[in-house]
């Protein structure tokens, strides 16, 4: 889909629609490529500086390519008091990357989020759209091993 087609599919767009536009771009490309943002600026007359400002303000937007699978770990209060910070360390250890980074094979990106709103199952992590609750070091190890072998199978 070209940028023009993408904008066209959204009906009449105004500068007020910048966030939904960026959400749509990210749905399409997985991140916000610089060239696409510049093209949007040209078509919508929203200054590129403003687009950059908005894109960097919100946690949801990413300017770099991301992994095929997104692993999110909650750092909310309920998770924190049930060992969430240890869980974050365990995931980093297993994946061998830091928060906000992507594995070299572009398979996994690891992020932490303020709260996943599933506090009753703390500590919680999420892989793509699936929640995993009441996690511990052992469960993380098994889960990531499973994800890795699933990746190998599809490759």
């Amino acid at each position: 889909m070209t940028v023009l087609e993408l904008l066209g599919s959204m009906g009449k767009v105004t500068p007020g629609d910048l966030i939904p536009i960026l959400q749509e771009v990210q749905n399409q490309y997985g991140y916000l490529p610089q060239g696409v943002l510049l093209e949007i600026s040209e078509h919508t007359i929203i200054p590129a500086s403003r687009i950059y400002g908005v894109a960097t303000f919100y946690e949801q937007f990413h300017l770099e390519p991301r992994g095929k699978h997104i692993i999110k770990c909650c750092r909310g209060t309920a998770c924190h008091v049930r060992g969430g910070s240890t869980l974050i360390k365990d995931i980093k250890n297993e994946l061998g990357i830091d928060e906000g980074e992507t594995t070299e094979d572009l398979q996994f990106t690891f992020e932490t989020v303020a709260c996943l709103g599933t506090c009753a199952l703390a500590p919680v992590m999420m892989v793509d759209d699936k929640y995993y609750g009441k996690m511990d070091a052992k469960k993380v190890k098994t889960l990531i091993a499973e994800l890795r072998s699933a990746v190998k199978e599809t490759a």
């Binding site: 910048l18 939904p20 960026l22 303000f57 946690e59 008091v81 303020a114 709260c115």
Partner: protein, 623 residues
Amino acid sequence: MEKLKSLSDFFSQHKALVDQTDPNKPMIVVCGGTGCIALGAVSVHQAFKEAIQRLGLTDEVTLKSTGCHGFCEKGPAVVIHPDRFFYPGVTPEDVTEILERTVMAGEAIERLAYIDPASGKKITYEYDVPFYAGQERNVFQYNGKIDPVDIEDYISHGGYCGFAKVLDEYKPEEVIETVIKAGLRGRGGGGFPVGLKWKFCHEAEGDKKYIICNADEGDPGAFMDRSLLEGTPHSVMEGMLIAGYAIGASTGIIYVRAEYPLAVSNTAKAIELARKVNLLGGNILGSGFSFDIEIRQGAGAFVCGEETALIESIEGQRGMPRPRPPFPAVAGYHGRPTNINNVETFANVPLIINKGADWYSSIGTEKSTGTKIFALAGTVANTGLVEVPMGATLRHIVFDIGGGIPDGKKFKAAQLGGPSGGCLPTQHLDCEIDYDSLQSIGAMMGSGGLIVMDETNCMVDVAKYFLQFVQAESCGKCTPCRIGTREMLDMLEKICDGKGQPGDLEELEKLANDVNSASLCGLGQTAPNPVLSTLKNFRAEYEAHINDKRCPAGACEALLTYFILETCVGCGACVRVCPVNAIEGDKKQRHIIEPGLCIKCGQCFNICKFNAVSKDGKEHAAI
């Protein structure tokens, strides 16, 4: 359902739907909230569907997947109506037996019954489960009863009747008077009187007015708004319609977190259905009143829960708060009068219209009426969503409903109100919780997150945690919040690392008060609350970190030294979990941790069944 052309159309449709409902027909309700889905509710629902077909019971049994029942700890939860048998933690293997014995024969299955952790007794019926028995579920009444998006199901349970009554009998001013009389206060945090807010917006001049529903539930530890939008989006929309009529608005916007995919999709479906039957759109029910609702998804910024930042975000800008005045009621979205309330607030409105202001204000305390939903989480036996009348005590919520602290540990504090709130110690357990009582003891209602902490949670670490959060979420517009919270965080990190010095606490207090008085918006103004409340209630714990370089709760890593005590039986469990091979020792002999190798991950401490690992490097009973 056909398009409803008039109010009388609506009322006759409502009557027909009520008449059709057979209250004695067996109904299986599988909780479809995010918590239960994470624990396998989808496959349980599917198994019921297949088994009902296989056993030829399609006409005799209704199967529903409803919104969150609130008891997330015990998911997937299944309730069998009309008797309300309650089965927690159901698996697909259990469904045939449930159908044959409970649904068809009305018999309780003992092995699936809920065991009350406090009494050890098995409990058969949902209303006897202490978690539910201690609650008063008004706003939450539909969760667990209706299919979230099915508009007929909602109407058959009295849904949209409040809105129809308003169109039929009330002038806009009378709606506002009723809400003022009911005493409803904003459930999002500040507790501002809702009717008054509506009145300001009603009186403001403007060619177009807006209603915004704030569903940017960002407080870590709060998830009632998600649950309401997932489980009963129509009641939130009904509240918005009533507000729109009262204020004279024609457009409603629901600003919802993108992190809540189920809430987004259920709300979108509900809007679509309401439009189809003429409960949204132009000339609703032939009344001449027009109102439509659109959804905007947030993009992940906590500060957008602040109403002026939220408006900036909907306008496609960075979500930075505006100075007030002008208040949104006068100049909000696109400079026009805008009324913003949160999800739970709107969901309260139909109740007030249906049952009357007097009924509503008879619940709760004098100045905080109605019920409040709390998200109970942390180290408590029964986590989940709890709706109680305002004025309930902390003890009632944590112990009677929450079942107390698991694993034989002791209650230490309850954190209320998220990053804007405070930590309440044991002495406030009997405090009656409402907006004003909380403020007077240094906490805040916030959106109702209630995190329970036990003796292994360090209050300095908790304060540091909240400041990390606020610091990361500070939008950066005003200096006191951007730099002040950074400085406060640096000091707390120093203290947790054992590098605190005498005088630090006084300095921290001074800075906290400055940030509070000089910040632009609520986020910055309330950011110091977790620090100030822990300093007030747990000062000795701070002093232990600074003066003795010790963390009494055993939580601050830099101050810990893992050490194996004499009571070690040499079982080797710790050796196997240690990720860095820092533990050695012969079988059945006391083991030793090599301090140079230890990375203080705590896995040995967690796995040891003999309490033989201490965290303070000393030979005595383990913490």
